[in-house]
Amino acid sequence: MSLQLDFPAVLERWPSFLGGAVLTLELAAFATVFGALFGTLAAVGRGSRSPLIAGACKVYVEAIRNTPLLVQIFLVYFGLASLGLKLSAFTVAVAALTINVGAYTAEIMRAGFEAIPRGQIEAAEGLALSRLQIYWHIILLPAIERVYPALTSQFVLLMLASSVCSQISAEELTAVANYIQSDTYRAFETYIIVAVLYIILSLVMRAGFWGLGLVLFPRRRRLGTPL
């Protein structure tokens, strides 16, 4: 039994790999931005005084957290199609990933919101700030700061999970790999390369979040406290 690896045969497809990696990163970037916004709104909604809004947000979060991502993707894919909406695989993938990561973001942000001491909010109320101003100036950043590691890990996980978007033929990294391995009959080599590329993408994202953290939390930078 001998293991024979032929990387050059696979590596000559590097433009395809690169294209797939870029598309994966794009998917992750869009879904992260939209999911962060959407999830934060859902987290705010869960604390709403209106039982209807709070309930709807809770149902959303629980429904998503208790179903597989692939099923969610198919639901969005076939759901939009049956509504007569013809959208690109990329758009569908971004929508499905946004809905998915939004639910996890909501849950993480809710923990962040709950960690803000009541006294902070009372002090802000005492200064005549409105509810919206209090969320924006007093609660949001410290809440994000508290959950930043959990939040950013979730976004990296999302990028990795986006590989299932190959199922609706979005041309991301895993889809490209499937194609190359069936073309070259070099499956092992192909997936080794893909694994390495995913690791690189993860590192790129983590570095990005680290840099973003420096911008978002100037106090950490000034006082030298790590996140």
């Binding site: 006294g119 902070q120 002090a123 200064l127 100036h137 007093i138």
Partner: protein, 251 residues
Amino acid sequence: MQQNPSSAPIVSLRDVQKSFGPLLVLDGVSFAVERGEVLALIGRSGSGKSTALRCIDRFEKVDGGEIVVCGHRVDRPDVDLRALRQDVGIVFQSYNLFPHLTIEQNITLAPCAVKGLAASQAKDLARKVLAQVGLEEKLHAYPEQLSGGQQQRAAIARSLAMQPKVMLFDEVTSALDPELTAEVLKVIEQLAADGMTMVMVTHEMGFAKGIADRIVFMHRGKVHETGPASILTSPTTPELTQFVGTGNLKS
């Protein structure tokens, strides 16, 4: 007797009732604070001092009675909270500075966001109020870089920046050791000398005696005894006698 607005009390409570569930915490509390007056709320733990103070700024809704603060009917459900809270400054025992903002940002936030002050004006204001509490050099520090006493003084400055007509203090020195307590009390003394109207809950009897125009002694949710600071040295009720006698009049 006619009452024009300028001679009306800044704060007045009349027969205020407040319960938390089955627990009756304020049982017909009445007192008034005139412009420029300093009123000290004293009493045993659980007697309802903080609750009374918080009702003034509507952090608690009353069940009955009437509260008028700077012309706002605080007991009414339709009270304009934002207008009320621009007229009232409140400082808590636990400072509650915003940890992610510098002292300057802590101070300028509300004047800019609520009153629409321009950033440059707000910064001038921040310098002014920090000078008032002796913390000019901490303008760009973060709260966690300050001592407890400095944080409390910064919190007072933050309130002052809104130019309130009355300041409420709830045991603002209870979390501090004696040395830091003294620096905070000095700031409050100066405010009193400048004519600020104040209501303060305090356990510092010596301080209350020195600064308060009036003492309200609360006992079991009622105003049990009230009068000028001299009631602390010559109380008439046995409860106040016991209260000031149990080492509370140390300083």
